[in-house]
Every structure is written in C-alpha cells, then in structure tokens.
Symmetry: C2
Subunit: 305 residues, 2 copies
C-alpha cells in the first residue's frame, strides 16, 4: 500500500480509475495519510488489518527532531504531473492529513480508539505538543505545496481523528496548527477543503478563514451542518456510505434529502460522508453519479463522489 | 467474560469492587450488552480482542423467531439480590443494551464500524427490522424488569452504536423501540438513564419522556448537551476517560468545567463520558471521587463515577 503511494504509475492509475469508471467530476490523489511522515524519515508501515504502525512512538523532543525534510517524493510529483495532463478539465484534488491526526499516529504508535497518550501529551506537555504539531504543519504544508505546484487544482486536509476532541481542546490546542498549515499554501490560490469524521461538535470551529470548503460526515444532517458552518464556506458531503447497500429508492431519497439541504449552502460538493466501504457494489456508484449528473443538468454546483 | 456474567458470586464481587475501592455513590451491575441475547438462546460468545461474535447472523424472520424467552438468568437475579443487601443505601444501577445496538450485533455477526448490513435491513426491509427490534425491546424489558424486581433501584439503557445513525433514521426507525422498552418498566417506578456514545446529534431526540436521565459522552460540551436535552431531564457525564492520563491539575480543571456546566441542569450524575480505559491508574479514580465528594459537600446533586 505505502509502496504504491510512492510509485508514480501506480498513483496515476489508481487515481484515474474512479474517474474512468464512474465519471465523477474530480479526482482525488491516491495517497495515504502517513505518506508525508514516511517521506520525512519516520519509520512507518501499513499493516494489513491494523493500519499505520510507527516503529518508535514519539515521547520527547528527540522524536520531533527526527522528523526530517521531505525526501523521495519525486514519484508523487511525477504522478501529479501525469494526472494533471491526463485529466484535462477534470480537477485533481491533492491530499494531506492534518497535524492532529498525524500526531496521534506518531504518539500512539498506530490507530487508537481513545487517543489517551495523545491527549495526555496535549494536556500535560503543551510545549512538546506545540513543537510536534508545528513541525507536522510545516511538513504537511510542504507536501501540499508540492502537489499544487505539480498540478493539483484543489487540496483536501483530512483530520480523521479530530472528532475525538472537545471543541475547547480543538480550538485551543489543535486548530491553530491546522490554520497555519492551510495558511502556508494561501499564496498558491487553490480551494482548500477541510474535512474530519465525527466532527458534528466542531463544524463551526473548523470553518476557518484559511479554507474555502468544510466537509461534513454522514452523522450530521446536512442542513444542520450548513447552519453551523455559516455562509462563508462551501460544504462537501454527506451521503452515508452504508446507504449504498440499500435499495435504489432508499439511495435516491437520501441523495434528494442532501440536494434539498444543499440549496442553502454557499456551494456544495456532493460526496459520501466518509470513504467508500470495501464491499460496495461499484455499479451503484456509477448509477448514483449518473443520477446526480442528470439532476444537476437543471441545477448549479459541482458534483463529485 | 460471558460466563462471569452468569455467575452470581462473580457478578456480586466485580460489581462491588469499585464501590469498595473508590467509594462511588452508586454501583452499576457487572454485565455485558449481549447477556440477554445469550439468555434468550442466541449463540453468542465474547472473543478476546474482537468483542461479541454471533454464530448465525440474522437475515430473515426465522432469525427473529429464534430469539426465545429469557432462561438461565437465576444467577443474575441472585446477584442483584445479594448486591441490594450488601450495598445498603448505595443504589444499584441495572443495565441493558438498547434494541438498535443489540440488532447491530445480531445482523453484523459482531462489532462493526459502519453497520452497513444493519442499516441496509433498516432501510430496505422495514417489516423485518421492526419485528427484530420489537422482539429485542421485549427481551430487554424482561431483563430490566428482573433486575428491578430483584433490587436494582435505577436502570441504564445503553445504546452503544446509536451515534452511527442520522437523527432522521434514529427518530423514525429506532427510537420508537427504545421508547417501548423504557415504557415497559414504567410501572416499576425507578429512574431510567438513557445513554449512547457519539450521540451529539441525537441528544434532543434521546430525551424521551420515558426516561429521567440522559447520558452525554465526552465529545459534547456539557453545557451544549444540557441545552439540547432541555429542562425535563437530568444529565449524566461527561469527563473524557483519557483525561485520567493527564496531570492532576488537568483532571481537576476538566472536572470543574463539568461541575460549572452542570449547574444549569435538572440534576447531574458525575460520570466519565465512556468506560474507564483499561490502563487507567486506579489511584486517580479514587482521588477524583474524593475530590468530587469534598466539592459536593458544599453543593447538591448525586455524584457517581
């Protein structure tokens, strides 16, 4: 998996597949959240059935210092260039994890349900915490810059685990670093999508001036999410990935519900509320995209799945 | 684990331990969410590192019909009687899963991140879904009745997975069954606590007239949760279990934040926002309970951890 993320032709092919098969309106770079960590010299592997595993979890400033400069990312740069050529008018969305989510993998040593060690560092070692997240914001900023300069026409910052935080902790100890990351690519002038999972409590806080779009997962009613985000941002979302296992009438009703709510937003990217589940029937995705295109022929707004 | 839940002396001892060690103000019956399923004849085991595993996941009405009457629960009845005697003035809180969460285990065959099969049945086979959840509400009602009649002085209905649902689906397809379960023990006149995890979007919907207390997990700011629940219910919660890994000053500040918010509630049970994490230092729990008791000597309200 991680090797594929550093192979230009693999990245290009896997990124193109959903565009070819389903005719979606944008491609998202095939990558993994730990790719910039690997490129910065962290000993991280992806273990099947587990997820990312970090050989030496970070407990001190020495661990932060060991996060080096991005290296060996020329294949990713090549992939983005190839993709920009192949895709033509179809936008390519670049991708990077957010500092908090990457910090959690680095501190816990792998995926965690409770993020206890991460939060303990956040609360009890605030200086070390700020060093770590600052460093991650820099590395992520460089990784996004590379993607945009090679041809990505939008980017998404994915904060998988932000939903584990209270709003207070998110705003005080996490958000400033994500803001710095997003601000660091402001000069490149591409739309910035900010997305997390389980972030119903955080949507208002995530709608920072440094991003143009906020992603909403499927647990939040889209109309509620739009109200929390306010009128300064477009939204992305939020069909439940599990809905694709239901009858077509159910899927259509759920998609109609989303489109009805989206009318009140400052722009809407139709998407699933989280990733496609592995056993999803691809034919259903194709049908959904066709249905959305037929619907949007009479409406405005970008449609992407 | 499951065998221990059906052994009166084990249940009694494990239930009493936190009261003896930490001096909490209430005991909660040691049990597992699948105990009533096992007692109703479902072939379910608890696999270490996995969770409950159901041998024959339910896909049809035959599976629903196979959920029999509660049997072999005399040891649990004995445990509750022993506990009521031993605990004296300390209340014993009975415990049961909610129909949706039990249905998810029965349909998925075990723990699930996405509940895709569960939701597919909910959406595409509404009659079968209603049959299953109705049957589960009956079995759970009988299980709670048994506990109350043997001496439990309050009960908690735990809907672990409700947070995976949108508010619309929760209200339309799940809540009526939970309400029927809660209503079925109304004649026994004990406080009913209704709790789920990741339910920020559902708190208003979970504050049904058939319960007296709504539990709030640690992701929601308690003041926000109280506002969503309204003034007809007491609240329970909501210290982040991960906070117990931080320095004492952090724990105390977090507990103070909760107590300050709780002032606006119609009654408050201090509790963690979810279960105690396995590697928690028990000494920290003892210190927290002592601190809460010292604080509550000058305040009203039940204090329980």
């Amino acid at each position: 998996m991680l090797a594929a993320c550093f192979n230009a032709d693999m990245v290009t092919e896997i990124t193109l597949q959903p565009v070819r098969r389903h005719g979606v309106d944008a491609a998202i770079l095939f990558s993994d959240i730990v790719v910039p960590l690997k490129a910065a010299g962290v000993d991280v592997t992806i273990v099947s059935g587990v997820g990312p595993v970090v050989a030496a979890p970070i407990t001190s400033a020495a661990g932060v210092d060991a996060i080096g400069e991005l290296a060996g990312v020329d294949q990713i740069e090549t992939a983005v260039k190839q993709l920009a050529n192949e895709l033509g008018d179809v936008p390519l969305i670049g991708f990077c994890g957010a500092p908090f989510t990457l910090a959690s993998y680095l501190i816990e040593g792998g995926p965690s349900r409770d993020h206890a060690a991460t939060k303990a560092m956040m609360w009890s070692q605030p200086d070390l915490w700020d060093q770590l997240l600052s460093r991650l914001a820099e590395v992520c900023g460089q990784f996004l810059r590379l993607q945009i300069q090679a041809g990505a026409s939008a980017i998404q910052v994915f904060d998988s685990w932000a939903g584990a935080l209270t709003r207070h902790d998110y705003e005080q100890r996490v958000r400033p670093h994500t803001q710095r990351l997003l601000a660091s690519i402001a000069d490149l002038d591409v739309p910035r999508i900010h997305f997390g999972v389980g972030t119903g409590e955080l949507l208002h806080s995530m709608a920072v001036p440094e991003c143009e779009v906020v992603g909403i997962d499927h647990r939040v009613d889209l109309a509620d999410g739009i109200a929390r985000i306010g009128s300064d941002h477009a939204v992305q979302g939020n069909l439940d990935p599990a809905a694709l296992f239901a009858d077509w009438a159910v899927i259509e009703a759920a998609a109609e519900h989303i489109l009805a709510a989206a009318g009140s937003a400052q722009g809407h990217i139709f998407n699933l509320g989280h990733g496609v589940l592995p056993t999803t029937d691809p034919g259903v995705l194709t049908r959904l995209v066709e249905w959305l295109h037929a619907r949007s022929a009479t409406e405005s707004g970008m449609v992407s799945v």
